[in-house]
Symmetry: C2
Subunit: 389 residues, 2 copies
């Protein structure tokens, strides 16, 4: 196990009806003027936004609004949000939505107190200050409600980049599983795939003696394997929705990843898919992750055997452990198909001829490598895309 | 799953040599004058206390000292600490030790800004203020380094009582597994038993649809089952020590217990043992917990079957699941014996004739009940003590 620090100071408020406490928590955490930040459609139609506004009014907290966040949120709206917050003297960001609204709010939170271009942070400039962000979560997926990270796509060049910094941890996050009961099956499944991918990016490591985090990762995977099919079959099943929603947070606030080198190459490889084809991030991960697994499994068969046995319930083939490892990957793919996820380029309309562009766009410039479990060259990445056709 | 809030804002610093950063973190969290609070012997002899002092001097942070904390820490020293802090204008508590030093420091932290008797908080008065506490942990056991609780024994009447409040979460905790490598096997095992007990108190619940926290609990138990025998056999094994130390935190900061009614009757039943015979809390739990399990298992055989299968690796006896449940408890007892823990009154010098006194001292006053999974009467508690003879 490696040395580490772990800091997850978010105040989580979980359960039925909790969105009505949003105003109370904005006040508790010092907000005096709020930017409500959201996508469109569902949070308005469902009445959720009205309930959140009501909770702000009840605390006499003024607010302004900026809707229009899109999946794979864009830099253009971030600039708009920064301008609005400065003009209106907003001191607290309150995204209502999923990872896109939250990530966009985190970008605005960094940008407001910074004199330069907020994109600097996405090119590596260290964050020194950010406005506080509270969240009202509507989909279990990105884990941004508990994480220190944000991912934004810059329209110019369709660059999708992330920033990680403890200053970006929300001060509070409100998680009401009821809000996820009306999600279409496809979004539920894509969110679930994203959650499982957050675990796998941490699970596949070269760091040894990490039993405690291995077991935590497996706990989250087992939860998802058991609960997601229930949520797909019975969308209104509160118990399943609640277990998935909390697993989404635990899988990405890094309690499952401390003390171990993490990989994250599948996320980077997927980002090119979702940036180019505007496919749901989780669906892109369903296409990429099994391909990545097949490509790298020989680097550490034992680790693939471990997850096959402990999570997918495979019997260890002692004479041929490679078979067990492969069976684990097969069951993961079957699981993804069973919840309605695509597992190939063809299913998401991605094209073989775009592979060279996507490989180049990852930014390795011919010589760098991607990932940690196996360090991938551009050639490796092209091979993984090919395996996913 | 029940509605809940979860707030674990402690900044954890984990790994080799991290005690040398204590001063840096005191400064980061605003301390300007420190009370170093510790037991005796080992932290001085090992040079640990000197290294921590050096780190404070390096930051120009003045400190005073109060040693002499005993296992099952006493109210007398807390009063002394409160007086010393007021006199010396201390604004930051830095316990160096295990749960006893940390719990004693938390009591002092509440007492300093309070005009009345600090024991009021242990009799139910809500905490409104407390000085910040940072910790340097030397044993994986109590979980107080990440928890919101403190347990103190009042000399008068040997009353052992606890307080839980988020204000008592340490602002930072330094966990260096190397510091635990020199612990005697008995202390290692007693600490491990305490950690497992913290999980079990959360695991046995009547709340349904708690897959995610069940899996987290099982993850911690599996970690302990696999790593503790290694640490006992090879005391200097850093990997085993590191896994156990982090599991100790995760098992008690309540990430494993949110959204579910918890039990905690075994802890209360044990407290009487350790208060009366001054036995290590973990050893007392090794005596009580299997007896409690045998006594209550019929309340929910399925839950006992689940832990038997998932943690103890029992094969489900479909024709007779009760046998599987019993086999799980047997394996837990065998595990405790294998790591050198007592599992009976006789082994810790406890006496059958003291049972009525201990039952009375729990404070149910003849009519109240203890616990949540099964609500225990005084008669039930006497029966559990008898089962542990």
């Amino acid at each position: 196990m490696e040395n580490f620090t772990f800091f997850s100071p978010t105040y989580f408020v979980f359960g039925k009806g909790t969105e009505s406490e949003a105003g109370k928590y904005v006040k508790k955490f010092g907000g005096t003027k709020v930017l409500l930040h959201y996508g469109s459609g569902s949070v308005i139609k469902s009445g959720l936004l009205d309930r959140v506004k009501e909770s702000l009014r009840a605390q006499n907290i003024p607010f302004v609004e900026l809707g229009g966040v899109k999946p794979n949120p864009r830099s253009g709206l971030v600039y708009e949000g920064i301008g609005l917050c400065r003009q209106e003297k907003v001191d607290f960001l309150l995204p209502v939505g999923g990872g896109s609204a939250i990530d966009s709010a985190k970008a605005i939170a960094m940008g407001v107190p910074y004199e330069g271009d907020f994109w600097d942070f996405y090119e590596g400039k260290p964050v020194e200050k950010a406005l506080p962000v509270g969240t009202v979560l509507t989909i279990a997926a990105a884990g941004s409600e508990g994480s220190e990270s944000t991912v934004i796509t810059k329209e110019e060049g369709m660059l999708k980049r992330g920033v990680s910094n403890d200053l970006l941890r929300p001060v509070f996050s409100i998680l009401n599983p009821e809000l996820t009961c009306t999600l279409p099956a496809y979004q539920t499944a894509a969110g679930a795939t994203d959650i499982m991918a957050h675990v796998f990016e941490r699970y596949f490591t070269n760091t040894t003696e990490v039993e405690v985090t291995d077991r935590l990762c497996e706990a989250m995977l087992l939860t998802m394997v058991n609960e997601v099919p229930v949520a797909i079959a019975e969308p209104m099943n509160y118990g399943a929705r609640a277990n998935i929603m909390w697993a989404g947070m635990v899988s990405h606030n890094n309690i499952c990843g401390v003390g171990r080198k993490q990989d994250w190459s599948s996320h980077a490889i997927e980002h090119e898919l979702s940036a180019l084809y505007d496919v749901a991030h989780g669906a892109g991960l369903a296409v990429i992750f099994p391909a990545w697994m097949k490509y790298v499994m020989h680097h550490d068969i034992n680790r693939f055997v471990q997850v096959a046995v402990r999570v997918w319930g495979c019997r260890l083939n002692e004479a041929n452990p490679e078979e067990t490892a492969k069976e684990g990957i097969r069951r993961f793919e079957q699981f993804l198909k069973s919840i309605g996820m695509p597992t190939s380029f063809a299913e998401i309309g991605a094209k073989k001829e775009d592979i060279p562009f996507m490989v180049k766009n990852i930014g390795l410039q011919g010589t760098h490598t991607l990932g940690s479990f196996v360090k991938l060259t551009e050639k490796d990445i092209a091979n993984i895309y090919e395996l996913a056709l």
